[in-house]
């Protein structure tokens, strides 16, 4: 229990030491056939994550954030979904990989933690047994005693008090925050290179949420793993992410560093997300502006830009292009900053129209 991380983890598995990204997603599309016709939940998505970095994927419900990450682990039912494109984890192509080889990857070099740990942990098995099970399946030669020791060590690592006793508790005997910690411990027990966190703090209150995010960051530093954090909360993104991918209706609509996305967003949907964050520190003049309408049905997505029916800036694009032509994901003003929008001068609109609405004091600063 007192072993240092380096002693415990070095040499367990060959860890990619190269500079290449651990996760590369290229032109990923995920389609589910339904009774009403095929639903393409993710369309032509590409991104990559380097070791030690955190990518935040943000978007409303149904934007394809979770679907794309479940595809990384091959968790979609092969019979009920069609996946095209390429997903490479440490150089291994995952799309079309056999179930047996996929299983070796899951929970081992790539692991996932889910929102709502109460539902995601099995109600009938003790926390310790669920952790040990995750360890044993990838360490077949380890004894049950080893696995238990490892489980206690991990619970200790994620800050569960008296881990040697709590290891025999059932999930319902843990508090919400502790359950999520246990979930994280389970995700990290095999020292994954890539951790996907699907809304890890959604079901938690704000203080616990902050603790969990801190914990995730500490552990990421300690384990040097890459993290993909899926959320609809830009606050979470601001706190944890290095890079941000904004998704809408199954497509990437903006991509950049966290600074670019939060300070110089160039896509009206991102503006909408930023405008709808309540800010306690802002002046009382600042308005909370919701994005009008609802996410589109993926059965019959809007023509042209998927966001155009909800976009307030459609008129600024000549020739009604928004409704007829899907904008390409092209370079924005910053380096490596990508956007999917027809607007000719988004920086100007953001500075003159959006920023004064959501943070008037910031406008002063910029001037």
């Amino acid at each position: 229990m007192t072993t240092t991380p380096s002693e415990t983890h070095v040499g367990q598995r060959e860890r990619p030491q190269s500079d290449g990204p651990i996760l590369v997603v290229e032109d990923l599309s995920v389609t589910f056939p339904t009774q009403d016709g095929p639903v393409t939940a993710v369309k032509g998505l590409s991104y990559s994550v380097e070791m030690g970095k955190t990518l935040g994927i943000v978007g409303e419900s149904g934007s394809g954030k979770s679907v794309s990450s479940l595809a990384v682990l091959g968790l979609h039912d092969a019979k009920a979904s069609k996946i095209t494109g390429s997903i490479r984890v440490a150089g291994t192509e995952v799309v079309g990989l056999s179930e047996a080889r996929m299983r070796k990857l899951r929970g081992n070099s790539v692991s996932m933690i889910f929102q709502d740990a109460l539902a995601a942990l099995h109600p009938f098995y003790k926390i310790g047994n669920q952790l040990s099970e995750a360890y044993l399946v990838h360490h077949p030669s380890a004894s049950k005693r080893d696995a238990r020791r490892k489980a206690i060590e991990m619970l200790d690592r994620v800050g569960i008090p008296q881990p040697d006793r709590r290891v025999d508790d059932f999930p319902h005997q843990f508090s919400g925050g502790m359950r999520q910690r246990a979930m994280i411990a389970m995700g990290l027990i095999n020292d994954p290179s890539l951790l996907i966190a699907d809304e890890p703090t959604t079901a938690l209150d704000v203080t616990v949420q902050a603790q969990i995010l801190d914990l995730l960051q500490d552990l990421q530093r300690e384990f040097n793993s890459a993290v993909v954090i899926i959320t609809h909360d830009l606050g979470v993104i601001a706190e944890t992410a290095d890079d941000v991918l904004v998704m809408y209706a199954g497509r990437a609509v903006e991509y950049g560093t966290v600074k670019q996305i939060l300070t110089k967003p160039e896509m009206p949907y991102t503006w909408g997300l930023l405008s709808s964050i309540p800010d306690v520190a802002a002046s009382t003049d600042a308005r909370l502006i919701p994005i009008p309408g609802n996410p589109p049905s993926l059965l019959s997505p809007p023509s042209g830009c998927s966001f155009h029916p909800r976009c307030a800036h459609v008129d600024k694009v000549p020739g009604g292009l928004c409704a007829t032509e899907l904008p390409a994901l092209t370079a924005a003003s910053g380096a490596n900053h990508l956007k999917r929008c027809h607007l000719p001068n988004p920086e100007l609109i953001y500075r003159t129209e959006i920023l004064p609405e959501i943070a008037p004091d910031l406008v002063e600063e910029i001037r």
Partner: protein, 334 residues
């Protein structure tokens, strides 16, 4: 846990007292006159004035509460029962004396119990043996052609009235096809001839088992479909567990809980007697006995079998609750 059991047993005893009162009142104020029936039988339908002797000795001229107390006392310490000029000794637990055989009812009940228990255990075994695996297999292939065919054919099977199903089983296998070994249906004590016991019971088990397993297939399929769509199943897959472990250790473990609950109650009901099965396959168990008693207006037997089912239901409910708390750690008995 102990306090809970004591509490449940006390409430069970209360329920039984109320049930016994209700049965006794129905018995007392019921439309048939037991005295008339028994008098007619014993005097070859020349009862006439002798009815008064029967009514008096059976206690029908006493107030009902006195007779109930007499009956209740008999349950605990036994009593002597007089019918006309003869007195019958009835040891505790005395549930009365059969008007037909003049045997103490509780003794007869114990005699017939092995037959009913044999039917119940064999039938219930087949429920589970076929019902759960078929249900699980269907749940794993949910929406496939095989699943749909199975679900609809089982729905068809279970829509047939059970007595018709059992009757047709008996008719085809014993009368028309004269299936060897199993055609001689009935209860033969297992201690005397296990093979004959098995052969005699076999068709009853098959009829009961096939019919019951359609229900258990539906229960376990539904329960399994629900369990497999839970978040923790996705977690189990994300851990890299083999599909077998995901389905059985994580899915079935959760899906079994409601099935076990239904099974406990069903098994209690089976032990209380399977009237159609025992009647059709000529098994002299408690179900058959209660049917005969109703036809012969043998009221002590009717009352005893009714009370016996109440006891079994109370006990099986209690056992189910205890098992439930063992299976689901979130449930605490208190």
């Amino acid at each position: 846990m102990f306090a809970y059991l004591v509490k449940r047993l006390i409430s069970g005893a209360l329920v039984l007292t109320l049930v016994s009162m209700a049965i006794f009142l129905l018995f007392w104020y019921g439309p048939s006159s037991p005295a008339q029936t028994i008098c007619d039988r014993e005097t070859s339908n020349r009862c006439g004035n002798r009815i008064e002797i029967y009514e008096r000795t059976l206690g029908f001229d006493n107030p009902v509460h006195e007779e109930y107390l007499k009956w209740a006392k008999g349950v605990f310490v036994g009593r002597d029962i007089q019918i006309a000029s003869t007195t019958y000794e009835c040891d505790a637990p005395c549930l009365g004396v059969s008007y037909l055989t003049k045997q103490p009812v509780s003794e007869e009940l114990v005699e017939r119990l092995p037959a009913t228990v044999s039917v119940a255990i064999g039938g219930a075994f087949l429920y589970l043996l076929f019902g759960i695996p078929i249900g699980v297999a269907a749940a794993r292939r949910r929406g496939s052609v095989a699943d749909k065919a199975l679900v609809s054919s089982f729905l068809f099977l279970s829509s047939i009235p059970y007595y018709l199903f059992a009757l047709l089983t008996w008719l085809y296998l014993t009368v028309l096809w004269e299936a060897p070994f199993v055609s001689d249906t009935g209860y033969f004590p297992i201690t005397e001839n296990p093979a004959k016991w098995f052969g005699g019971m076999f068709l009853a088990w098959v009829a009961l088992g096939i019919f019951g397993c359609t229900q258990y297939t539906r229960y376990s399929r539904g329960s399994m479909v629900e369990a497999l769509s839970e978040d923790y199943i996705r977690t189990a897959r994300a851990k890299g567990l083999p599909e077998r472990t995901v389905v059985y250790k994580h899915g079935l473990r959760a899906a079994l809980v409601p099935v076990v609950t239904i099974f406990g109650i069903d098994f209690g009901t089976l032990l209380a007697g399977t009237i159609f099965t025992e009647r059709i396959f000529d098994i002299n168990g408690i179900g058959f006995w209660s049917l005969q008693a109703v036809q012969a207006k043998d009221l002590p037997v009717v009352a005893a079998t009714a009370l016996f089912s109440a006891v079994l239901l109370i006990i099986s409910n209690l056992i189910v609750d205890v098992i439930y708390s063992v299976l689901d750690p979130r449930v605490r008995l208190s």
